[in-house]
């Protein structure tokens, strides 16, 4: 393939960046690709609290595989930065490194939970940095003395009812852990995204009606050194029973049973220690207007379909159960208030690639070098989805790579390789709209406006 032809394609962004980058840039990921496993002589990845604003193209000319590695490095860098110990204002504490002060909040915990943005009757949300009152049912808990970084976990499905009814083609169903408890979820936005919503009054139906245009969230801009919009989706299990807190990143959460999620659910609110099992990052960048979608999981979550279950215990799979239906949501009715529900039996349908596994090993080495017993050694990148043709005139999804991507905790029951049925971050979020039918820029959050 000639350089001329490459430059004539819509993919010239990646090529241009490779040329600017030149061959002098050391490609850590490429170095790994040539080997079966990371050599100890390879320099370890650098751990920094800086969220990358754009990928670094490391191969000239780039290939699908080399760019996938570049995006996977971008994902790990973002994961490191967002899980860096935070100061009280949410900025990274540069006196610490990731893995230190494991009981303190990390950077993303200062982000705004969706519940505190889309308020009843379309009320104006509290300014950035202000504490949001917990749900009324939590009034028996002393809100003034909650541990720092306490989450409000109100969702028992990745998508609450408002989306299932109007915006999603499927209902994913709750995920039940090995203690028979519902996994809980949270969606949060960073300041850039929150500010755009507030400034344009997109937090209310009335505001969206007046706005009456496609949403266009600010993108990260490496030239201006500006951080753009980031969304975080997290999945959590209650600690205790079969879950050892020392193996998880834990925090405290007001675990709230929301009567609006399912019929028959009674409101309740309990302060619980919860452990992180799933972590999605959506990050809008200048060259990826379809956003970059990174997904991480706890390493003990699930085995891979068709491969031996090598662990004695998994977070969402029982190796001893011979007749458990795999990747099937629990039967209705769904009620997180039930004392026990039969655990879900989940397998990963699309294996983590060898290249991603090698990158995970490299980052685990770096994390262990920084903090030998770092809890973050228990987390791994599944993959990163990115647009191969971001400026396509015929495909607004930008032809994502890989075509399908699922997190076993967040898309447990829609894994696979069938379009419009199996999980694809960009293909799904491309359908998202505001409450009055305008494109909402790859987020379903705006559907929550009242």
């Amino acid at each position: 393939m000639t350089l001329e032809r490459l430059c004539s394609t819509a993919h010239r962004n990646y090529l241009t960046r490779a040329l600017l980058c030149g061959l002098g840039v050391f490609s850590f990921a490429q170095g790994l690709m040539a080997q079966d496993k990371p050599a100890t002589t390879q320099p370890l990845p650098v751990l920094t609290p800086q969220v990358p604003l754009e990928i670094t193209v490391t191969k000239k000319p780039p290939t699908l595989a080399s760019l996938q590695d570049d995006f996977d490095v971008f994902s790990w860098q973002t994961f490191i930065a967002l899980n860096w110990p935070a100061n009280s204002d949410g900025t990274p504490d540069t006196n610490l490194t990731i893995g230190q002060a494991p009981n303190d909040p990390v950077v993303w915990q200062s982000y705004r939970e969706s519940r505190s943005i889309f308020l009843p009757d379309g009320a104006t949300p509290a300014p950035w940095g202000e504490e949001t009152p917990p749900p009324a049912v939590c009034k028996n808990i002393d809100a003034k003395h909650l541990p720092a970084g306490t989450l409000r976990l109100t969702q028992v499905g990745k998508t609450p009812n408002v989306l299932d009814e109007s915006g999603e083609p499927f209902k994913t169903g709750p995920l039940i852990d090995q203690n028979g408890q519902y996994t809980r979820f949270s969606i949060m936005t960073n300041q850039a995204m929150f500010t755009y919503i507030v400034n344009n009054k997109l937090y209310s139906k009335q505001g969206q009606k007046l706005f009456n245009a496609d949403a266009n969230f600010p993108a990260s801009d490496a030239t201006k050194q500006q951080l753009g919009s980031i969304m975080i989706k997290t999945a959590w299990v209650k600690m205790g029973g079969k879950y050892d807190p020392s193996k998880f990143y834990t925090t405290y959460a007001l675990v709230y049973d929301n009567p609006d999620e399912e019929p028959g659910v009674k409101p309740s609110c309990v302060l619980e220690q919860v452990g992180l099992v799933g972590f999605h990052i959506g990050h809008k960048t200048q060259d990826e207007p379809q956003w970059v979608w990174s997904t991480f999981e706890h390493v003990d979550n699930v085995p891979t379909k068709g491969q031996a279950a090598t662990l004695a215990a998994y977070n969402f799979f029982d190796p001893h159960c011979k007749n458990c239906a795999v990747n099937q949501p629990p039967p209705r009715p769904w009620n997180p208030g039930n004392r026990y529900t039969k655990p879900s039996q989940v397998e990963r349908v699309i294996p983590i690639t060898t290249e991603a596994q090698q990158l995970n090993a490299a980052y685990h080495q770096a994390l262990a070098a920084a903090v030998p017993d770092s809890v973050w050694l228990n987390y791994e990148l599944v993959s990163t989805q990115w647009p191969t043709d971001a400026q396509s005139k015929t495909d607004p999804t930008g032809v994502p790579a890989p075509s399908f991507l699922a997190n076993a905790t967040l898309e447990s029951y829609i894994q696979g390789h069938v379009k419009q049925t199996s999980s694809s971050c960009m293909a799904c979020h491309n359908n998202a709209t505001t409450t009055n039918g305008n494109f909402s820029d790859f987020t379903y959050l705006l559907q929550r406006a009242q």
Binding site: L64, T394, T433
Partner: protein
């Protein structure tokens, strides 16, 4: 790409009228070509009884391409009856495969029953990547990447879909 794949894509572009950059994008996560080439070779060998026929077709394309002929001239030469019935039929089936994502089987007339063609979908991926949807500036039933409300807007130009817009 291998030279065999290069020739397969070049021939497919000539016969379908689509640009090579559409049939085989520089970054190609869908990669339908890697499904079509082995399928085409297997079916043609099986149906013609000639395991070398696809190789002969691709060699002829390569030879014509090296002569600097226009796509129209190459296409006409490939479909020339003088190449033999199996040769031309294979080229026509190649067009059918790219456009429909399916494989055609010709059923000759039998008594009062007229000749007909039945087709079998090759895969879910081939269904969604059929070029017929691109020519229609539309999408397959049950699979659309367009955004909500697209039906009220004009589609992209045909040349954007075929890749022949001179970009």
């Amino acid at each position: 790409m291998s030279s065999e794949m290069d020739n397969f894509i070049g021939l497919s572009a000539v016969l379908t009228g689509f640009n090579k950059s559409v049939l085989s994008p520089f970054l190609d996560p869908v990669d339908i070509k890697s499904e079509y080439l082995p399928f085409f070779k297997q079916k043609i060998a099986q149906e013609s009884g000639n395991p070398n026929l696809v190789g002969q077709i691709l060699e002829k394309y390569s030879s014509l391409s090296a002569q600097g002929l226009t796509p129209q001239q190459i296409g006409a030469a490939m479909l020339d009856p003088g190449n033999g019935a199996d040769f031309v039929l294979a080229c026509r089936k190649l067009i059918f495969m790219w456009y429909s994502g399916a494989w055609p089987t010709l059923i000759p007339a039998n008594g009062s029953t007229p000749a007909s063609t039945v087709s079998d979908m090759i895969s879910a991926k081939s269904y969604t990547t059929g070029l017929v949807w691109q020519v229609m500036q539309s999408h397959p039933m049950g699979d659309s990447n367009y955004r909500y409300g697209y039906w009220a807007k004009a589609p992209a130009s045909l040349s954007d879909y075929t890749g022949n817009g001179g970009k």
